[in-house]
Structures are given as C-alpha cells and as structure tokens.
Subunit: 202 residues, 2 copies
DNA sequence: GCTATTTTTAAACATTTGATTAATCAACCG
DNA sequence: CGGTTGATTAATCAAATGTTTAAAAATAGC
C-alpha cells in the first residue's frame, strides 16, 4: 500500500511548519501540499494547533534526544566528542531547518512550547560533565568550566545550520559549499574543544 | 515633548515581532500594545509588511553590523577577540531575541528577507581573516582553516541566546543565572579560540 | 480667529482562516 | 447483497485580520 493520507498530511505539515513556523502556515497550505482538503486535516488531527504540537514534539525530540544520548554514551572522551559532532552534523544535513524551527517556537519565556519541552525532557545526571570531571581528576585535561565546554560544543555544531542563509551570503557559498563547510567542521570542532581541554594553562 | 505616536508604534512592533515573528503578530496586537488603534499603524507605516521590513532591517543591521565592524577593527588579535565577545555579549544581553528573530525570518532559501539581507550587506575584504593569515605568517598562531574559526567564534557567542530557553531548562537556570553564565563566557570563549590557535599541532 | 494641514478615532469592508457540516464514496463483514 | 463503518468531498460558518474610509479632533501658520 502506498503512503496513507494521514502520513501525507503529517509530512506536508512538517515540511511547511519547519519552513514557515506556526503563525505563517495555514491549514490550507498544508492540505494543498498534502494533496487533500482542509476537512481531512481536522479529521485526522482535530486542529491546526494539535497537528503543530505533534510536529513540534517530534522535532524537539529528534533534535535533542540524540545529542543527550551520545553525550551519555560510554565512550572515551575523544571518541565521544568526534561521534557527537559527526552524528549531529549528519542529522542536521538531512534536516537543516530543525533547530531554527524548534528554537524560534520556544522564544518567549512562558510559551506553550517551552512548557511542552520542559515536560518531555528526562532529568538524570549529566554523564558528559561527570566524564570531564573524572578526566580532570586523572590529569588528562585541564579543569575548566565544563558547562561552558558543553554549550560551546553544541553551539559550534548547531549554529551554522541556524544561520545557514546568512553564512552562505557572507561567505558567498553555494549549498554544496555549505555542506562541504560543515563536513570539514567534523574535524575542526573536536580539535578546538580538545586543544582547549589539553593545552597548558597560561 | 514625549515620545511620538510613530515611535510608540515602532517600539511596540519591534517588541512583538521579535517575540512572535511576522506570522503570529497581528496589526491589532501592535496597535493595542502601542496604546493606539490599527488605523494609525497603517497611517504611519502603510502596511504590516512595510512596518515589519523596517523592523527586520534595523534588527539585521543591529546584529551583524557591529560584529563585522569589530572584526575589521585595527586591534591586536587577542584584544580583538576579547572585544568582540565582550561587545556582542553585552548587545545580546540587552536584546536576547534579536538573533532568533532575524534568523528565523531568514530560513527558507528564497525568502524576501534573505533577498533583503543580501542587499544591505557590504562586501569588502574580511580583515579578520587577513589578520589571522598574517599572524600565521609570523608564526604566532597555527595555520588552520580560519573561516571555521570565525564561524566558531560567532557560534559560541550567539547560540546561547538563541537557545536560551532550552538552556535554562536543561541546566535549571534562572534568568539571572543565565546572564551570569554568558558573562563567564566572555573569558571562556576567547580562551578556547586562542588555545586552538596557539597550541602545538598534534 | 480663521484656515489648512496633520493626527486621531470609530466604523466598516473584503479576505483569509480555522473549523464544521452534511452528503457521498469506498471498504469491509456477515 | 445489505449494512455498518471509515474516508473523502464540497460547501458553509463564524471569527480574525489587514486595510480603508470618512468624520472629528488637534495643531500649525498667518
């Protein structure tokens, strides 16, 4: 059997919501793009808002769950950092609009999306920070603010995708060149993090 | 004289557009928040779209012009990096929603906002890259891909603000703690960049 | 003080938009 | 076949939204 109507609608909705956000997307956009009519959108998903929440939830999980998972893996520090950058870069190459979508819907302190995100994230200890602590104990790396390191790591991987179109403008890159650029970051980012952690203090 | 109606509208529009984006903002939102009526919004700005374009243009310039300016300054490398992080952090502490606003309106390859942004950015040689090249020539720093360094620098400064609400959730930070966190990055970010540029190759 | 201009207001207009309805069609089951 | 259920369609509704209008109020110029 081919793809179901429900899936066609969900796929179209995801594509359009990611590109235009909740407010700039109409039910008719979605219906037309899914090659059906607006009644079916509400038939399967009750309302634009509920459909959106489903897409948002998926997108949030799709973006942050793998990141958390890898950082909690049992891997040597260096291998883990490389794996993190590698995996996240590949993920975002497939879906470059994911982070800007999720984060733009989460601006504003007390939005429904923030509340939603807070409900769906597991607490648990941060094994990556613990690992860095242990490595510092063993004298393998410098003791610095590891929260800062974690945020920097995430920043360097994700931000180029969020600012993709500005970056392409400023550096006169084509889409292919942009993808080559982030591909090269798979080496550059871990090197930067590791040199910071390993080099002698000044 | 007190603040003019036109300014009241512009201020309200900026605040609401930054928080909710173009699509989720209504003319009535703006009018009410500016303590006037919708007719005046169109009286002074002709249409919601034109008002938005004015706000977007300002916001784009406000975000990227200072960054470009500082990186083109005549300053020693280390001082310049510190100044860049310092200045940009202070700027974003005042207006944390600026980058997510600009970048979320610029997703989608061929949007009007992308076109707009491309028109308003000066070309000119990238003096920061030239400076890094010269320092490498002199043997003061390693020769690495300096485009990657520049993007990483920008990423580490800007991304925490874009992901502010996720960050506050994950790290259980209050607003004050978040601001303290980015304040500490004023040291951490330059240290990371410089250690990468200066440490021996492996 | 009177006129001309600008600013402000309330009301209305035409579309758009999210959602619903009632009827039709298709599929499955006994 | 008959009938029940689920899927689909076209039409419609009410509310929201961007914009305009025409009149009133305020301001400026002489």
């Amino acid at each position: 059997m081919a793809i179901s109507t429900e899936e066609k609608i969900r796929d179209a909705a995801k594509r359009i919501f990611l590109e235009k956000g909740f407010g700039s997307t109409t039910t008719r956009d979605i219906a037309e793009s899914a090659d059906t009519n607006i009644a079916l959108v509400n038939y399967y998903f009750h309302s634009k808002e509920r459909l959106f929440q489903e897409i948002f939830q998926d997108s949030f999980a799709e973006t942050f769950a793998p990141a958390t998972r890898i950082l909690n893996d049992d891997l040597p520090l260096e291998a883990k950092i490389y794996k993190f950058v590698d995996y996240m870069t590949d993920l975002l190459k497939k879906d470059p609009l994911l982070p800007v979508f999720v984060l733009s819907e989460m601006r504003g302190e007390n939005t429904k999306m923030c509340e939603m995100a807070s409900k769906m994230q597991e607490a648990g200890p941060n094994k990556f920070l613990q690992q860095l602590e242990r490595e510092a104990e063993k004298g393998n790396i410098r003791r610095v603010d590891f929260d800062q390191v974690e945020v920097s790591l995430m920043s360097m991987v994700v931000f180029p995708f969020i600012s993709m179109n500005v970056l392409k403008l400023k550096k006169q890159m084509s889409t292919e060149e942009f993808y080559r650029f982030v591909e090269e970051r798979k080496k550059a980012i871990p090197e930067m993090i590791l040199s910071y952690l390993r080099c002698r203090e000044e």
